[in-house]
């Protein structure tokens, strides 16, 4: 009993775009172009992905899943990389990190029989894991950069006392991990109370019984939770060393950092 939104009904979605458009016009926010463009772009992207998914779901799982998961990881890597391009090897760390995270989560799903190895199950679930991991990695990179800048005095003090980079960075690593995990801990606390998670909403609209839907939601929420933790940890532990040179000295400028990329 899957409900369907008819194409005529879809046309009326224009009304939903008119609201922000009117606001922008009335208050001269100068965002009209952006609003129109992002609405059109979003619509095209979603339709495209709809057709692509239809095609992928019909493919053999051993082709469709690696193909789509690979593309998702690649795109996600570029996206997260933007938050820390000046850090040497950031792309490789992010890419391999996402691969490890997705690989281990997928392995657990399959081993414990939570998800079937079918494109229609693995791809949407993986998308959520990879997307959230991407955000967590980007946040961890940004946070790490700002912590290193803010705490350069303390780090100098620690180094001056004889600390190795790893020892000196301890404080920052802790703070970064903490900051990356907090939003997830918070959202787990209010899950289902404040808003029904998107996936659960989708399943219920699709006709799945609520209790069935929450089982899936639990699987995905906890998978995301552990992937996000793992992602933040991988990025932080792999990247802190690039804030120092080989003589246990703090690197003081972005140029110096970039010039070391070829080490």
């Amino acid at each position: 009993m899957s409900p369907e939104v008819s194409n005529q009904s879809l046309l009326f979605l224009i009304v939903f775009v008119l609201v922000p458009l009117t606001l922008s016009y009335y208050y001269q926010l100068g965002m009209s172009k952006d609003i129109v463009w992002s609405s059109i772009r979003g619509t095209i992207q979603l339709f495209a992905i709809g057709y692509i998914l239809t095609y992928l779901f019909d493919l053999n799982a051993f082709i469709g899943i690696p193909l789509m998961v690979g593309i998702m990881i690649l795109v996600a890597s570029f996206h997260a990389w933007n938050k820390g391009k000046e850090l040497p090897n950031a792309f490789v760390v992010i890419f391999l990190g996402l691969l490890v995270v997705e690989g281990s989560v997928l392995a657990l799903w399959l081993v414990f029989d939570m998800v079937n190895f079918k494109p229609s199950e693995v791809i949407p679930m993986s998308g959520m894991v990879i997307g959230n991991s991407m955000v967590a990695m980007g946040l961890a990179l940004e946070r790490m950069k700002s912590e290193f800048t803010e705490n350069s005095g303390r780090l100098m003090a620690a180094l001056a006392l004889g600390a190795q980079p790893k020892q000196a960075s301890h404080l920052i690593i802790r703070k970064t991990l903490n900051a990356s995990l907090l939003p997830n801990v918070d959202s787990l606390k209010t899950i289902g109370l404040v808003q029904l998670p998107g996936m659960m909403t989708g399943l219920i609209l699709g006709g799945v019984a609520p209790v069935m839907a929450i089982k899936y939601q639990l699987v995905i929420s906890l998978s995301i939770f552990s992937s996000v933790s793992l992602s933040a940890m991988i990025v932080t532990l792999a990247m802190y060393r690039y804030f120092y040179n080989e003589n246990q000295q703090l690197i003081e400028s972005a140029e110096e950092m970039r010039s070391r990329t070829n080490d």
Binding site: M156, A157, A160, L161, G162, Q248
Partner: protein, 232 residues
């Protein structure tokens, strides 16, 4: 040559031009000059927080590049301008350095608090609750906990009011007297320079302009640069 602790010849692009000097064991040196002269940069070369682009620095006759870095930094203590304490208690800060080398013993806390002249019941206070002067003492104590042979001080009282900085001077004065430390101190405070220093090195634009007895430098400056500096 035994008593030359440092033999210093360092050049750092655009910052330090040509620094050539030796430091003997137990010398009390005041490094002074206008801001931007390269005093901090010079200080950071001693414990390798930075490296010169060219030139050589010898510590006890050995190039510092061949000393193990952590050990070198432990022996050459540095106190920065701002306290930069680690979050936690006074005790956490005091034991940080020695713990890195597995050398901390709880019995040392008392002795260190005595050195920096803070009451012992401060040990378990959070460092956020301390005044600026108290924080700077903890910062000094944290460096002393490593039992350094050389003490580098980068304007340790510049952020403090007159009374508090005099108290810190008192702490330093006693420390220098009791423990035979070699000291290199950067300061803008000439009264403090005379009280704590013996030898003065006046720097300007990355170069050493005058080097000699601190009282002589302050009373009878030879160079025009130093004369001008003292007039301001």
């Amino acid at each position: 040559m035994e008593n030359y602790l440092f033999d210093f010849h360092g050049v750092s692009k655009d910052i330090l031009n040509d620094l050539n000097f030796t430091i003997k064991k137990n010398e009390k040196i005041i490094l002074f000059g206008p801001s931007g002269a390269g005093k901090s940069s010079a200080l950071f070369l001693f414990n390798r927080l930075r490296d010169p682009d060219s030139g050589k620095i010898y510590y006890k006759g050995e190039p510092i590049q061949s000393c193990e870095i952590s050990q070198l930094r432990k022996n050459i203590g540095l106190v920065l301008q701002a306290p930069n304490l680690f979050p936690g208690t006074v005790l956490d800060n005091l034991k940080y350095g020695p713990s890195l080398f597995d050398e901390w013993e709880d019995s040392r806390a008392e002795e260190l608090m005595d050195l920096i002249q803070l009451p012992e019941n401060y040990l378990h206070r959070d460092v956020d609750q301390l005044s600026g002067g108290e924080q700077q003492r903890v910062s000094l104590g944290r460096t002393l906990a490593n039992k350094p042979e050389v003490l580098l001080l980068d304007e340790p009282t510049s952020a403090l009011d007159v009374r508090t900085s005099e108290e810190i001077e008192g702490v330093l004065e006693k420390l220098i007297e009791v423990h035979q430390l070699t000291m290199v101190m950067v300061t803008h405070n000439l009264r403090q320079a005379k009280r704590l220093g013996e030898r003065g090195i006046f720097m300007k634009e990355g170069k050493i302009v005058e080097d000699g007895n601190i009282s002589r430098l302050l009373m009878e400056p030879e160079s025009k640069a130093l004369q001008e500096f003292l007039q301001d």
